[in-house]
Symmetry: C2
Subunit: 484 residues, 2 copies
């Protein structure tokens, strides 16, 4: 193929097949270029799309980092540190997002736009001019065919002039459209070279520019922040390691003990019972009337709170009042042939609840504790010491009963209080009584206990019922309720 | 809510509602964390996805740039420069792709993987432990219910021991699963802080690292390349501007001429006819027999090539041989009442073609040219000079005929050659005859022309038919075919 580089405008009027043939070479070139341009545009739009998606993604990531603060985590340990670190990271991501956004904009302006314009303007123009050229060429052919058939002799001058004008008109049109088409195709040979290179120049410049800006933005400052975050992570990891080791040891210790802890009534033969308790907590079964004759037993967690017996089912957030224990009577009962059952009766005798403990020790301690509480000694300054004193006094005053269990069916609260006193021999109690001898001395054994300010039982109950929020539901120690 | 930071392993065995309540706080926290982690993972995977897509996009772009070379563009002007520039850009994009690939890999390893591991390992572990805990807790409840129903007196020792062992077993299980669950939940409070921060550290480090590498890779070297590309684009743009201006002027000039060029027979009154042509080209209508009695006229481009008359329809790539003009006779004919018709007859009289010119000037020039060619003067060293001499001689030898048109029906080739000689008066011819007086002098007027080497007509035709490629289809000047 000869080295041709342009269509000669001078040959447009003649419009020979040779010129047409050369034109078709230019057209083929334009066609190949159009196809290539479309493929290149597609590749460039994909790069642009990825960059744009990166903008959106970093935007979402930044928002997600900031959202940590609004998560309402139930536990807030270390949250401030995490939140402030994530806020810092969100700022970093925002800055990255700004760079990505700038790069996206530059890719749009300097890469995608020029090649789209090239396609929409130059290539589309050529396609349009080609259509016009073909149209005018066809018009000329039609006019020429008509002209060629003009008769030789019997000439109608008017008809002839009209046809000649038609040929001239269409030939002028074709000439004009050819010239424009040729010019466009010639110019395309220059634009072709720019069209593919210019967007790549824009792309590369934008990318290098972003590397430069990225370096400026993040170089020194970022290192400090990142190393501090790295330290923080290491520090948390160390804390976790320490905690894990501590938990491992604690677990080992808890599991290395006697397996007896898992057996509900393992010490039934010789339970060590503390009779001086003025508070108690633990699981008990409670007997419920579910119908006129049917009953059910529910295992709930019970605990005393001041003079109240509270019940908290396992799923409940807080305990609810079951009974005001002041001046109640408590006694062992036989119920549905279950073991370790006892009954608490309110002073008026109107409220009666029947509970079942899981072991002999629990059974006796609950009875003692409720008995102690019913005597309101929890309201004294040192109720435990008072309980010890009372039980010691009782122990000295009555004939010991060797087997509590044999007689528990007929026990009255009063006799119970005295008869089981001989079993008070735990080390715990001895220790406690030694710790508070002065307070205990204030109260004479056997004397009724006087209080300066005592709330009436009804008022106390009302207060308890109304103000459930007063109780610390996460602590087993409910003795904080102080009167006076 | 009180500031709690861990579940106490010591409280696992007791399993009070308070502990459960605290547990539920940890569980809620873990639930919120799981949800947040999933959202954060989604955001991070989106960033990773965008980065990965950028890899694929740059890969495609690089391939597309290299594909330019394989496009088989019909025109290659400036291609080497474009190709080498695009290859350079492809290398740049490859380097960018390498950076993007490294960043993608780092994001996968340091951002997405840790948070996926956290979700799959830690959060899934918690969820599994919770299931185990609930399971063992239920088992324990069932065992306890059975245990609580153990009869008081009529004790079957074996049954009792079995139930107690069941309680102990389930209680041990629950204790163990609680301990593990508590430990995991406690550890989660540390992991939680690391889990969200560590991936962000990885992300930021990877991103800063890429900025650094990008700068190192592209800073200086790139600037030189980009400025040279920029210069190249400007230079092409300047060339285009110059070319555009040249085309504009050329177009202006072409269009500023007389409108008469568009009128097919504008000079019919006094056409300036060159009778000394030894070659001619242009559109003619040719008469075709389409059936026994029907005919059609097709407008094709005809040109002489040596002693041959060639025809090239507009869409054809090359011309085809119509007739060997050597010793042919040409004469005006009346055909279908069309104007400007003439007929060429082969020496044997077997081939006859009828053609129609679009104007009087064309008509006469075609007849003259074919007449000249039929006398084989195109084989002489200076055929144009010979033609002039022959026509001048003829003009001097015969009586002028005032109107060629009136008599053209009865013209014989021989008489035609002499009778229309008086019309040779164009400036063009005069000039040409002055330029080549010496060559012309070698041939005596009227004498037969002798050639050193002459191909027989049949051989010449065969050669032409077989070797169509010999003809330069893009040039109107077909006189390059040299003999001797």
């Amino acid at each position: 193929m000869p080295a041709v580089d342009k269509l000669l405008l001078e040959e447009a009027l003649q419009d020979s097949p040779q010129t047409r043939s050369l034109l078709s070479v230019f057209e083929e070139d334009a066609g190949t270029l159009t196809e290539y341009t479309n493929q290149l545009l597609q590749a460039m739009q994909r790069v642009y799309g990825a960059q744009n998606e990166m903008c959106l993604a970093t935007q979402q990531l930044s928002n997600q980092l900031l959202a940590y603060e609004k998560q309402n985590f139930a536990l807030g340990k270390g949250d401030e540190e995490v939140i402030s670190t994530l806020q810092h990271f969100a700022k970093v991501v925002d800055e990255l997002n700004a760079l990505h956004t700038e790069l996206t904009r530059q890719l749009a302006d300097k890469m995608v736009l020029p090649i789209i314009q090239f396609r929409e303007k130059d290539l589309t123009e050529i396609s349009t001019l080609k259509d016009l050229f073909v149209l005018s060429s066809n018009e000329h052919d039609i006019a020429m065919a008509k002209y060629s058939r003009l008769p030789k002799k019997r000439e109608n001058e008017r008809l002839k002039a009209g046809v000649v004008a038609e040929v001239a008109d269409s030939r002028r049109k074709q000439h004009l459209s050819s010239l424009q088409y040729y010019c466009s195709l010639n110019a395309l040979q220059y634009r072709k070279r720019v069209a593919v290179i210019e967007p790549m120049l824009g792309y590369t410049e934008a990318q290098v520019n972003i590397f430069k800006k990225g370096m400026e933005t993040f170089s020194k400052r970022m290192e400090d922040f990142l190393s501090s975050v790295s330290n923080m992570i290491q520090s948390i990891q160390r804390q976790l390691d320490e905690e894990t080791e501590a938990m491992r040891l604690s677990q080992q210790e808890l599991l290395s003990g006697n397996d007896s802890v898992y057996f509900p009534d393992y010490d039934v033969a010789s339970p060590q019972i503390n009779r001086n308790l003025i508070q108690k907590a633990g699981y008990l079964n409670i007997r419920n009337k579910t119908g006129l004759v049917t009953t059910s037993w529910d295992r709930h967690y019970f605990f005393t709170q001041g003079g109240n017996l509270m019940c908290q089912p396992r799923g409940a957030v807080a305990g609810g009042l079951i009974l005001d224990l002041d001046n109640c009577s408590v006694m062992a009962v036989d119920c549905e042939d279950r073991r370790y059952c006892f009954q608490i009766t309110s002073p008026t005798g109107k409220s009666v609840i029947i509970l079942q403990a899981e072991s002999k020790k629990e059974y006796e301690e609950w009875i003692c504790a409720i008995n102690n509480i019913s005597r309101q000694i929890y309201l004294t300054d040192n109720p435990e010491a008072v309980a010890i004193r009372l039980n010691q006094t009782a122990m000295q005053a009555v004939t010991p009963v060797t087997s509590f269990e044999k007689k528990h069916d007929s026990l009255r609260p009063d006799s119970n209080r005295t008869k089981n006193a001989d079993l008070v021999h735990t080390e715990n109690i001895t220790q406690r009584s030694l710790n508070a001898p002065d307070d205990v001395a204030l109260i004479e054994p056997g004397t009724p206990i006087q209080f300066d300010i005592v709330l009436p039982a009804t008022e106390f109950l009302d207060q308890n019922r109304a103000g459930g929020g007063r109780y610390n539901t996460h602590s087993l120690n409910a003795s904080n309720t102080t009167v006076l």
